[in-house]
């Protein structure tokens, strides 16, 4: 937006003129609504604010009517100190500690510029956690790409991984897990979802509100530059149509060193009691921080935009308002505290500037060299429009459900079953992920007690008591495509199970809802179904959704990704020393299958890898069985009965056994009481394998009966091969070779 002459509130009131609202992403109706709210045309700066604040990314205008279910169906809990609508939810975990966590997408930027897109995705979610007053302590990443062998995946994946590695490692946050998946539906629309978890004492909770008339507004962190202008509106809220290179200036550039200083500086400011309010500058930058913090407190703000320190002095006022330059925070401080505030910032070499003050006018008033360029009610920008878009179940859904996997040829002999296992292990989505995860620092801070290849990550929080948290993220777009309601519940169930398998007690949920265009009724139906499924599931399991993010427009022209809700579950470990890993690390452990196996192959890894097939019904979700298994595991882990507990998910029992043999470098021998193919490769939910600690077999069996969890003894750990009696055996060295060479061969 080039403003030859400064457009002021006075000028806007005096003279109408055509305005570039469509280029900024506003519809004609939205533009008219802005004019009605103001009683005149908006100034250039006001138009900039409304265009980014009313973008899909910032306003949730298409999703909000559905997201309400997370509050309406939220289970009664006293554990939530802050919930939906905050920067991130805050959960009481006992002993005076609270944990805040959230997952967020950075999908579009990561496709346009993989390295910086993924790096700033980490930076953004970390600032959300910081804004709550917490110290960020760990990150995770859920990544999905197009076919592993596609040339564009070779461009995007290494860049994304290097960007996460660069930013997270330099920031000093251990990366404790996540996901890596491949599917043709993500070609051109990779999913880069970043999760951060932070820890605080209850008293440290900060409000993202501009309270207290006369308090000063302080902008601190990096200087404002031209990067990321319109990122929320131009990039995150539109489908790709080709020509994405031209959008590269909409991607921000990250400086993790400044973020590290910002983290330490903010925590010191909080500890010194100098923060009356704290907010981060993320999507929509200064527009969002000023409007939302004033709206949250019901106050007003007077901002001198010309006081904002710039990296590029040529930036105009509208560009400064829209810039998404990284590593910036905004604080509210009492006038008497400003000197002490600025001194702490100086100690950390963090630039800090007073740019305005809180007023009682209820207006957000912004000036540029003495001229008023914005005069709006902040709530009108912060709230945005609400749409109930058309949603319709596509007719093709019936044919998809009818095209089940029953007609697909199945392996039956021992050698065929063996070959199927090895084919699955060698598929990129199930292969060893070390090529990715060893680029991440998992050890920094010295509190990581579980990390990849574990099913969940876990962090110690209190060194004396052993209190800690476990986290897992899961999602399966193939299940979501077959049935978005069940797909969301299965994602929830898997993350819940992964956390419970460590011995933790699941307590809260965050979600990143990745979908195509909300303007497509079929996509809107998928979204509505997924949200309903997730809300119902959370209600049943008794764990609330505390926050998250919606990412629409993951589509290229009219081809959308599979509906991919990625669900993060947080659990509490009362003593991290009791955590249960996945690896078979010692011989002589009784191997027990928990749960019930049915012939469920719709959307399975076997159907995909062996036949390139996707149709039929996904596995059924049995949340009562999930809950029973979770309480069994918590009791068994607390009593020290378990040596290992991997969950069954993609690829079923066969893949789970292979992974825990490899993780613990110990083989096992199992006998299958039924159809070997079904028992090995079905993906029925609510199942785990455990290795019982030697001597605890009878106690554990009694505990299974008490919790009404079906338990089938399969065999015993030991030896140096994975042996299925009467069918096949594979030496661990062969398994390891096949599993480990896939990603290095693809990505170098």
């Amino acid at each position: 937006m080039s403003a030859a002459a400064l457009d002021t509130v006075a000028a806007a009131a005096a003279a109408d003129r055509p305005q570039p609202y469509a280029e900024l992403g506003l519809t004609g109706e939205e533009y008219q609504r802005v004019r009605e709210l103001l009683g005149r045309r908006p100034t250039d700066c006001e138009l900039a604010i409304y265009s980014v604040m009313w973008s899909e990314h910032c306003s949730y205008k298409s999703s909000r009517v559905y997201l309400r279910q997370f509050a309406e169906k939220a289970p009664a809990t006293t554990a939530l100190l802050a919930g939906m609508g905050q920067n991130a939810g805050v959960v009481d975990i006992g002993q005076g500690y609270a944990v805040t966590f959230k997952i967020e997408s950075h999908n579009h930027p990561s496709y346009v510029e993989p390295f910086q897109g993924a790096a700033t995705g980490v930076g953004g979610i970390v600032r959300d956690i910081l804004a709550m007053g917490a110290r960020p302590v760990a990150v995770m990443d859920a990544l999905r790409f197009g076919p592993a062998g596609a040339p564009d995946t070779a461009r995007v994946l290494p860049g994304v991984v290097a960007g996460i590695s660069f930013y997270g490692n330099c920031l000093g946050l251990p990366n404790i897990g996540g996901e890596l998946g491949f599917d043709p539906c993500y070609a051109g629309n990779p999913l880069v979802n970043a999760l951060c978890v932070g820890v605080m004492r209850h008293a440290d909770l900060q409000a993202a509100a501009a309270a207290g008339e006369g308090n000063q507004v302080i902008l601190f962190g990096s200087r404002t530059g031209p990067d990321g202008i319109g990122g929320a509106s131009v990039l995150a809220s539109a489908s790709f149509e080709g020509g994405e290179a031209a959008k590269r200036p909409s991607v921000q550039v990250g400086d993790p060193f400044m973020e590290k200083l910002l983290v330490e500086c903010c925590l010191e400011l909080g500890a010194a009691g100098l923060l009356a309010g704290l907010g981060d500058l993320g999507a929509a930058g200064l527009s969002c921080a000023t409007a939302e913090m004033a709206a949250a407190a019901g106050t007003g703000m007077r901002i001198r935009l010309d006081a904002v320190p710039l990296r590029d002095p040529a930036l105009g006022p509208a560009e400064i308002l829209m810039s998404e330059s990284q590593e910036r925070m905004m604080a509210i401080a009492a006038p008497a505290d400003v000197a002490a505030f600025l001194a702490i910032c100086a100690r950390w070499d963090v630039p800090a500037t007073v740019i305005g003050e809180v007023t009682g006018t209820g207006r957000l008033q912004i000036s540029w060299h003495g001229e008023l360029v914005v005069d709006i009610a902040p709530q009108t920008a912060a709230d945005g429009p609400v749409y109930r878009r058309p949603a319709a179940r596509p007719a093709s859904q019936d044919a998809l459900a009818a095209d089940g996997p029953d007609r697909l040829p199945r392996p039956s002999s021992g050698p065929e079953l063996r070959a199927t296992l090895l084919d699955l292990l060698a598929s990129p989505g199930l292969a060893d992920k070390t090529w990715v995860t060893q680029q991440y620092d998992r050890h920094v801070r010295g509190d990581t007690v579980l990390a990849m290849p574990e099913d969940a990550g876990a962090i110690r929080i209190d060194e004396q008591t052993g209190l800690g948290v476990a986290l897992a993220t899961d999602g399966n777009g193939r299940y979501g495509w077959l049935d978005p309601y069940l797909g969301a519940q299965l994602a929830l169930a898997e993350a819940y199970r992964n956390v419970a398998a460590t011995g933790a007690r699941p307590v809260a949920v965050t979600d990143c809802l990745n979908f195509g265009s909300p303007e497509d009724p079929a996509v809107m139906w998928q979204f509505a179904e997924a949200v309903r499924g997730l809300a119902d599931g959370c209600q049943f399991l008794g764990i609330p959704v505390t926050g998250g993010n919606v990412s629409f427009y993951n589509q290229t022209q009219d081809v959308a990704i599979h509906p991919t809700p990625v669900v993060g579950v947080l659990g509490v470990l009362d003593d991290v020393r009791r955590r249960v890993p996945i690896g078979f690390a010692a011989p002589g452990g009784q191997v027990v299958l928990l749960g019930t196996t049915a012939a469920e192959f719709g959307g399975s890894a076997w159907a995909q890898v062996a036949h390139g097939h996707l149709g039929g019904r996904p596995p059924s979700a049995d949340l009562a069985a999930e809950r029973a298994a979770a309480s069994l595991l918590a009791a068994a882990a607390g009593a020290g009965l378990l040596a290992a507990a991997p969950v069954l998910s993609d690829g079923g029992l066969a893949i789970a056994l292979a992974e825990c043999c490899l993780a613990g470098r110990t083989g096992c021998r199992v006998e299958l009481p039924g159809d070997p193919f079904t028992l090995l490769f079905s993906e029925s939910a609510a199942r785990l394998v455990v290795a019982v600690a030697p001597g605890a077999e009878a106690t554990f069996a009694a505990l299974c009966r008490r919790h009404a969890v079906p338990a089938t003894v399969l065999g015993e750990t030991g030896g140096d091969s994975l042996e299925v009696a009467g069918q096949f055996a594979v030496p661990l060295a062969e398994l390891a070779g096949i599993h480990q060479r896939v990603l290095p061969a693809l990505f170098g």
Binding site: C170, K260, D447
Partner: protein, 225 residues
Amino acid sequence: MTARVGIVTFPGSLDDRDAARAVTRAGGEAIPLWHADRGLRGVDAVILPGGFSYGDYLRCGAIARFAPIMTDLVPAAAAGLPVLGICNGFQILCEAHLLPGVLMRNHHRKFIDRRLLVRIEDTSTLWTRGYQPGQEITLVLKSGEGAYLADPAMLDTLGKRGQVVARYADGDPNGSAQLIAAVRNEAGNVVGIMPHPEHAIDPLTGPGDEGLLFFTSVIRQVVAG
């Protein structure tokens, strides 16, 4: 009495907290030292921890060597104060010419975090005297610029004087010359190591506890006087 071990925090230091924990576990008292301060607060030894001081801008460790506290540390090290640089701390010691050689980008050009075997070759230093010569221990290596390099004459000298403190014992993880993982100065009081002994002090959070002897070695020495 116990040993007071100073741990320097530069802007961007990350493993300072871990180094402090290791010192405490080894029975010492961890004393925080701030990069912008002068004076070493009377500590008995100093650790320069891992991380990305000054964001690794310009070159790893190149800016940190000019920090005010280095003005006091360099002469103290020359006078025999025990100093251990871990990872980024090793890079700073090389930049400050307290140790020979340089650390360059890993030959595969990627950051790696992995556990590996390290063979302790020199047990004459204040930091390694608790180990047996030739003892192999499991540590974590986590760095993007961990390839130790020096010119052939320097490598020859290091070998002859026994200044190679440790080598990688199960393969070449990063392209280091002669698999060098740790070196010392001629006097033996200053040691730089690329893998992280402070992350191997407890099997709960690391690959075991075989790194703890780095810290107990120096603390015992100080206490014994």
